[in-house]
């Protein structure tokens, strides 16, 4: 990459060509504005529900057409949006997630602001979808804000009592605080490299790690890295930045919690993957934009996040608080992929991250959809014991819940299992490959073997609280009989989530098209070393 630091000489038509693939998102933004405008005339649940739902389905159909995701000739790395494998698969996930949110909220909450709420979901979906394709820091920042700002309003609208207000306040203040941290990191990355384009920044950073550089650059690069990870760590609830999650989830409605646990996390993980260079193509060379600092940073974050999330979740009785900690733990698993990184040719990390992200979003959305389905005016589903005997009183909802919980535990044939398997494989590969190729093999080997063992131990810890819920569904006696007039739309959402969970669990290749395969086989033995790694660590399902 040349170090041309003048303004890029792209003409307006080039610019138009490079943003044209974002048409589905722009369509959603326009539709969201229309829904907002219409809301001043009518507040009609079915009307705005159908419009938003069909808008999202249309956007999904548009996104599948090759014209809206084919990379531009010669433009792929210079436009504000890039449509590679990562953005395509996560874009589909985002649109599906948005459609699921609209369906879940069909009969949920009060009707006074239903048009606004649906419009805000459209905005937030478009924001998350732009964020997974963002190719420069400005687009990334704006699309992250396009997720955050509607989320504040959804949190406020979805629950009007003092708990809802407190959770809105906590989320809002900490969110702008974390945005400011992320922006400070952005300013240093821009300052070191003189560019806002993410590929260019990463390329210059990797060059400067090889050549002699001014003394201040490594420090400034470290400041940039830490600040950006801190800001995005808030979005994905990585551990030192997770404090808001349990309170906010508990204080808001099931619907608000389901928005918070899906869209910002998709956006945050996509942004982290792009900024650490996971998506960046190298010609077989070693690619080190942040030397190995980012790898160790994510190693610490991942191990602390998953352990703390799972251990604290053991004590929880409030369902949303429990799922906040469960979400923190799952974020910890996904951070493993970022820790494995791309340094020693461990190509599967991105695929593993994407599989796990699909799994996580499907499982969490499905669980919250069932909570909304069960939640009735006057009798809320707040505690684990409210699920007692569900398998008898409502076998369909109970069955959906069991499959989702099994996936959350990580039992085979579900997406949760395949995601964890992929992450463990990546960590083991990283450890082995660095043991073969590097000068100080043992420390890396120990680090990453330790990380994969930590995933397994954590899956076992998590099994306890998920199994407690399965126990409540099947072994306890429920009080109420099957009540009528529950929202069918939420049940449908839960069912679709089960379908996605099982489909990804059986055919993970469906969602990793274009970003490389998860390395299911062991590493190619280099230096005459026999393949010491098979799939044995995950042969028996964890969680018992």
């Amino acid at each position: 990459m040349d170090m041309d630091l003048t303004l890029s000489s792209s003409s307006p038509s080039d610019f138009l060509a490079s943003v044209a693939p974002g048409f589905p998102e722009f369509f959603l933004l326009a539709l969201g504005s229309l829904v907002f405008l219409g809301g001043t005339f009518r507040q009609d649940r079915p009307l705005w529900g159908w419009i938003s739902f069909f808008g999202l389905v249309t956007a999904l159909a548009l996104a599948l057409r090759p014209i809206f995701h084919s990379p531009m000739e010669g433009n792929a790395y210079h436009g504000p949006l890039v449509y590679d494998g990562l953005s395509q698969t996560l874009r589909l996930l985002t649109f599906l997630c948005g459609a699921g949110l609209v369906l879940m909220g069909w009969e949920e909450g009060d009707s006074t602001h239903i048009a606004e709420r649906n419009g805000l979901i459209l905005f937030a979906t478009a924001g998350a979808s732009l964020c997974v394709a963002a190719n420069d820091l400005a687009t990334l920042f704006l699309s992250l804000e396009l997720v955050s700002i509607p989320t504040y309003l959804i949190l406020f609208l979805t629950r009007g009592d003092k708990f809802g207000r407190e959770s809105t306040l906590k989320y809002f203040l900490l969110s702008i605080f974390s945005s400011a941290m992320m922006l400070f990191g952005f300013s240093y990355l821009y300052g070191i490299t003189g560019s806002l384009q993410i590929p260019e920044i990463l390329a210059i950073l990797s060059q400067s790690s090889l050549n002699p550089v001014p003394e201040a650059v490594p420090t400034a690069r470290l400041v940039g890295l830490v600040m950006v990870v801190a800001g995005l760590g808030f979005k994905v609830t990585a551990v030192p930045f997770h404090f808001y999650a349990p309170d906010v989830y508990q204080g808001t409605s099931h619907f608000g919690a389901s928005v918070l646990s899906t869209l910002p996390k998709i956006a945050g993980f996509a942004a982290l993957a792009r900024l650490t260079g996971l998506t960046f193509e190298t010609n077989g060379g070693v690619f080190l934009p942040f030397e190995s600092q980012s790898s160790y940073l994510f190693w610490i974050l991942a191990s602390v996040t998953m352990t703390l999330g799972n251990v604290i979740a053991l004590w929880q009785t409030n369902l949303r608080r429990l799922f906040a900690y469960s979400g923190i733990a799952h974020a910890g698993y996904m951070l493993v992929a970022l820790s494995v990184g791309k340094e020693v040719g461990a190509t599967g990390a991105l695929a593993a991250l994407v599989v796990y992200l699909w799994a996580y979003v499907a499982m969490t959305l499905g669980v919250f959809a069932i909570f909304i389905y069960l939640d009735k005016k006057g009798k809320h589903v707040e505690k684990v014991e409210h699920l007692n005997g569900l398998a008898k009183t409502d076998p369909v909802a109970g069955g959906i819940m069991v499959v989702l919980l099994m996936s959350l535990i990580g039992l085979p044939l579900t997406a949760g299992f395949i995601g964890k398997l992929a992450l463990v494989q990546c960590a083991l590969r990283r450890g082995l490959e660095s043991a073969i190729t590097e000068a100080h093999p043992n420390s890396e080997l120990r680090l990453f073997f330790g990380l994969s063992i930590m995933i397994l131990v954590n899956a076992a810890i998590a099994g306890w609280y998920y199994l407690r819920m399965i126990g409540a569904l099947y072994l306890r006696k429920g009080k109420d009989t099957h009540p009528s007039n529950r929202p069918v739309a939420a049940l449908v959402t839960g069912f679709v989530c089960v379908v996605v969970t099982v489909a990804v669990g059986i055919l993970p290749g469906l969602v990793t098209r274009g970003i490389g395969e998860v390395p299911w086989h062991g590493i190619k033995s280099k230096a005459g070393m026999a393949n010491p790694m098979d799939k044995s660590p995950m042969e028996k399902p964890p969680g018992h």
């Binding site: 003048t6 400005a138 704006l142 309003l153 207000r165 407190e166 906590k170 400070f184 821009y190």
Partner: protein
């Protein structure tokens, strides 16, 4: 007669000022408990970032950083609008701008943080006089014509 200081401020000075603003905002955000001041401190952090971007843009000789700052200011304005609306609603429910009033959500079995010197409560809102709703005409007997 004061000596005119011929001292062109360089990148380091701008960056130091930017970092100073950022850190002041950070410390203020973490130590204040008045909601409006917390929000203003977060804005101060963002202004420090903006200064960084402009200084780097000048140093690098391209305009990308300047462009970024324009977006930054626009988003900060959006957030200010939401912040003020939210804080107003919160003030109306509790008559206080103190964040430590909002402690209903916390880990089970954990006591709320006690404030030794709580912020004084604001005055209770006076009931504003209620006007007759505009646009509704007084009820009149239907006009009937007997032609």
């Amino acid at each position: 007669m004061m000596e005119v200081i011929d001292f062109p401020p360089g990148l380091t000075h701008y960056l130091s000022l930017g970092a100073l603003l950022f850190v002041l905002g950070l410390v203020g955000f973490l130590s204040r408990r008045n909601m409006i001041l917390m929000f203003l401190n977060a804005e101060l952090m963002i202004q420090g970032v903006a200064l960084n971007f402009v200084a780097f843009a000048r140093h690098r000789g391209n305009l990308e950083g300047q462009g970024f700052v324009l977006f930054l200011l626009a988003v900060a304005a959006c957030e200010a609008a939401i912040a003020l609306a939210l804080i107003l609603v919160l003030y109306r429910t509790q008559h206080s701008l103190d964040v430590s009033v909002w402690q209903n959500l916390r880990e089970e079995g954990l006591d709320p943080t006690l404030d030794e010197e709580p912020l004084p409560l604001g005055p209770l809102e006076e009931k504003s006089p209620v006007l007759t709703p505009a646009g509704i005409g007084p009820q009149q007997p239907e006009e009937t014509s007997h032609v």
